[in-house]
Symmetry: C2
Subunit: 648 residues, 2 copies
Amino acid sequence: MEEAHGADGNVEGTQVEIAVMEAMHKVVPPPPRSSLDKIKVRLKETFFPDDPFRRFKGQPPKKKWILGAQYLFPILGWVPTYSLSLFKSDLVSGLTITSLAIPQGISYAQLANLPPIIGLYSSFVPPLVYSILGSSRDLAVGPVSIASLIMGSMLRQAANPRTDPYLFLQLAFTSTFFAGIVQASLGIFRLGFIIDFLSKATLTGFMAGAAIIVSLQQLKSMLGIVHFTKQMGLVPVMSSVFHKTDEWSWQTILMGICFLALLLLARHVSMRRPKLFWVSAGAPLTSVVLSTLLVFLFKAQNHGISIIGQLKSGLNRLSWDKLLFDSTYLGTIMKTGLVTGIISLTEGVAVGRTFASLKDYRVDGNKEMMAIGLMNIVGSCTSCYVTTGAFSRSAVNHQAGCKTALSNIVMSVTVMLTLLFLMPLFVYTPNVVLGAIIIAAVVGLIDVPAVYHLWKMDKIDFIVCLCAFLGVLFISVQDGLAIAVGISIFRILLQITRPNIVTLGNITGTDIYRNLHHYIDARRVPGFLILAVEAPINFTNTTYLNERITRCIEEEKAVDHHQAVLRFVILDLSAVPTIDTSGVSFLVDLKKSMEKHGFELVLVNPVGEVMEKLQRTNGVHNFFGVDSLYLTIGEAIISLSSLLKEST
Amino acid sequence: MEEAHGADGNVEGTQVEIAVMEAMHKVVPPPPRSSLDKIKVRLKETFFPDDPFRRFKGQPPKKKWILGAQYLFPILGWVPTYSLSLFKSDLVSGLTITSLAIPQGISYAQLANLPPIIGLYSSFVPPLVYSILGSSRDLAVGPVSIASLIMGSMLRQAANPRTDPYLFLQLAFTSTFFAGIVQASLGIFRLGFIIDFLSKATLTGFMAGAAIIVSLQQLKSMLGIVHFTKQMGLVPVMSSVFHKTDEWSWQTILMGICFLALLLLARHVSMRRPKLFWVSAGAPLTSVVLSTLLVFLFKAQNHGISIIGQLKSGLNRLSWDKLLFDSTYLGTIMKTGLVTGIISLTEGVAVGRTFASLKDYRVDGNKEMMAIGLMNIVGSCTSCYVTTGAFSRSAVNHQAGCKTALSNIVMSVTVMLTLLFLMPLFVYTPNVVLGAIIIAAVVGLIDVPAVYHLWKMDKIDFIVCLCAFLGVLFISVQDGLAIAVGISIFRILLQITRPNIVTLGNITGTDIYRNLHHYIDARRVPGFLILAVEAPINFTNTTYLNERITRCIEEEKAVDHHQAVLRFVILDLSAVPTIDTSGVSFLVDLKKSMEKHGFELVLVNPVGEVMEKLQRTNGVHNFFGVDSLYLTIGEAIISLSSLLKEST
């Protein structure tokens, strides 16, 4: 009958009308399902949207065992078919990322106020664990700048790393342990969607702010300041820097600027020509070697350049006896573990997904969380602090042509050899070059084009980004993050609380009804007000909807009085995915109040869940019967038009 | 062209196709508006959905002034046309609610650990203020049980009402002041929607729990216990009651049970026969008079029955000098003010709206908030604690036939006379009868049918209700509330994070596409997968949507291989009201990844905001062009089918 309506524009003859009424499509409730069934489906959609057990279905038991083992230990998936040519690629990429991992490991550990050696330990054990459990082929595992910064700054509120280094180390290991527990739990309980609440906008602002905070911290080593502030914010650091001008050392500054320029140049070259990725990949290690040689040759340590000093050779000690579950520190530890755990997880999972989609394979988010979590739990027992998949190193790994997680094993073995035999070489490495390496690494986190893109696409996303950025700079790293997440969530709630209600009109000669203010060839249908609600109807918006619909009707009456008198209000529910008890009461009350004022409320196309709930109301009130429920707006209008004519 | 498709079922001839292609409707972006315009509209929709200044438009300046004054002081709206017959009704209803207000005022003040006289003060000034500023005609203003309970329990954490009554009084007045500030600010800044976050489900559970907590507190006076626990929870109160069996006084218990039975009987009678509303309305005052006489005649105060004792005659003292802004207590005060303010506001506004819709007049929510807020600010300076529109008394007011806010003035004057002349009569009033009055009043807050309705309609609403109930009973009043609000909001976020994606099919012989699992006569269209997303697309759900859509395609491929090969994935965006930057990136990535796998992604009917953002992407990527954007599913299928034929 819609076609009939469309075909000759206006339906007039009674004959046609009768035919029309017969062809009308009924709105039916969805096929009945038990509450248990519905809960099952809902739980599955919430926790297993990717249906990870799909490929187990219909397999023989032996195959199921193999698939299960491969699911738990992805290494079993690629080892049996591993070949020499793959190994060549992995060896090259593994060595390339080692040259980044060693200097960055030392630097990031210092950023977290930990001894440099911890950074190397953390580049040895966790990559091994990940290569067994992880499903990404490109992830290069190790310490990362943001998580290091957060851990350093949060733990410093509970213990002083300079006066009480042992306690600080204990807190760091225990926080890492908690971070691992949080990460693994999110994976096991399939709550991975929690990290989705960190939107791109939030992360862009947060990363940029954190990069500046991290760079500011490097002013200590870049300027050679001895007594540096313990605070992190932009204001206290800058004021501290300019109050200590007497401690600035020109030799350090000169060396710092030279190496920073070298590193940034290398970065620039690699960005211009992706094939030259090895230039920026090799630059940090080259800088370390060069600067160490310089210091050694000129005995620069006697001329105001501070050096790392003696590092103990040997592999990771077991550290599970250092885990500290003292109630005095438990609050700080758990908070630090939670924040660093979630932040590093976000980075790791995002990096894994990015490269998986580039190479077109799948990474199971929840599985990855378990792998990263276990890696940190094992790490916390073997003198490592929090690690994850690092973006910059993974990019290098990818560009260097890695094929499997074996590149992580190569890196791990190389770091092991360094720990065993090469530690004495780092004695003369100047701290200033580590600072330069960190700055050159975090500069890439400031993504100006992304900010511009946000500004162009969505002003509120831009505001979220800005709040995260300013919050991190001027309040604190964790508060900036919390504020940005808060605004993002508030924005979603506001969209629900103030849903769009649009007035629809008929596109002449068709059966299409679209927004009057969007499609200029849409026309009002005399005697009808057609509204579409574009949000779930629930307790947060029933009051608003009531006021808004009342206003629409009054405006319509004011506008339309020269045409047919308004009789019917059609509410298109196509875009209302769910409704709650308050929403149903609202519809019932709305219908009653409209009848009082001489209008009739008609609902169009309630979807499955909404229809079910309306039907349950029907049992009690018999409110929304056949003549107030239609499948399409067109059918509603034809059917009601004939009523209109009968009554006049 | 939709009609053509519908009319002959399957379009085959090339002639028709060409006609069809010409008749195709383009998806156009909405008419351009400046960012400023958009922000203006958005702000208006967020803060002024009811368009309160609409009736000012087009009026002469003098009329505008009058309307403005009437807006600020609704009393000016009804006083000029007031008549003797209206006064008669208001006098009767005013006296009726006074007979409730006096005993309840005294009782509720005790519930808040305040001197009984404060309850009477609070029934004198606030009703006067409200009758000038408030727009509801039925609201009976005064202290209420829940807000009294919350204030008493929250302030008790900062000061002991028994050992330090003056400090406690100061805290109560200051909290009331803050509650008023919070309420008025919500109204002035038009943030009234904040109280919408307390859903019916939350309130039902919360009220029932609070009613039980309040009743448990009355065991002190009902059993005559002298040393009663300071805690509120179910467990500590019951254990305290049974540890103090030696303090139970049988005379008190006997008297309590008799009067409680009397009051509940009166309530029962009034509920059965609404015309006999005066039975339950008069019962509390009758009980007070009767019990006072009994005590006086039998000198029962010497037989273990505790009495109120001497109350000072005279009107409210000014108390603005008692407001205490000491930093030690400021945290508690502000928290108490916030919680009691919002809770009492919720009750007041809900009551006002309920009776307004019964009598079919309008109450402006934000205006009411300002009125209630100002009333509490004035109250806090005149020895009153937090007041609002009480549900039970307003119901009695309504049933007694009140016509305007004058019934509040009548109540106020009667309470004033009581304060001036009748205070000595309360000396012998036994505390047990006050306990019985409170229990009889709060029993009505336990709404079992509403809970059953929640269970039937919506299991999650029921769970929210249960959590609020159990939280209040076993944790604390404010935590129970917080948990329930948290769950309600989490539920909404979860709906956004895990949106419905439905597979659509064609209802044979029409141009209607509906959910395959809902409408059994809907049929798959060979070669096409038609998906509809029913939620805003944003950062919280892009990962899920990606996994879910991938799964849909894989399932479709598994099912459909005997029919035409899947070529096109149609994404119906009709029910996607908004999209953010992450959402746009998701669509772009999805299209790319589909192309890699040999499918084509087509979008149908993006609404205004979504279309605008897609267009902005188009500028950069030129991604969603004419042949991947259609106005209806039908048009998309016809147009793409012809492509399909050309290619084969």
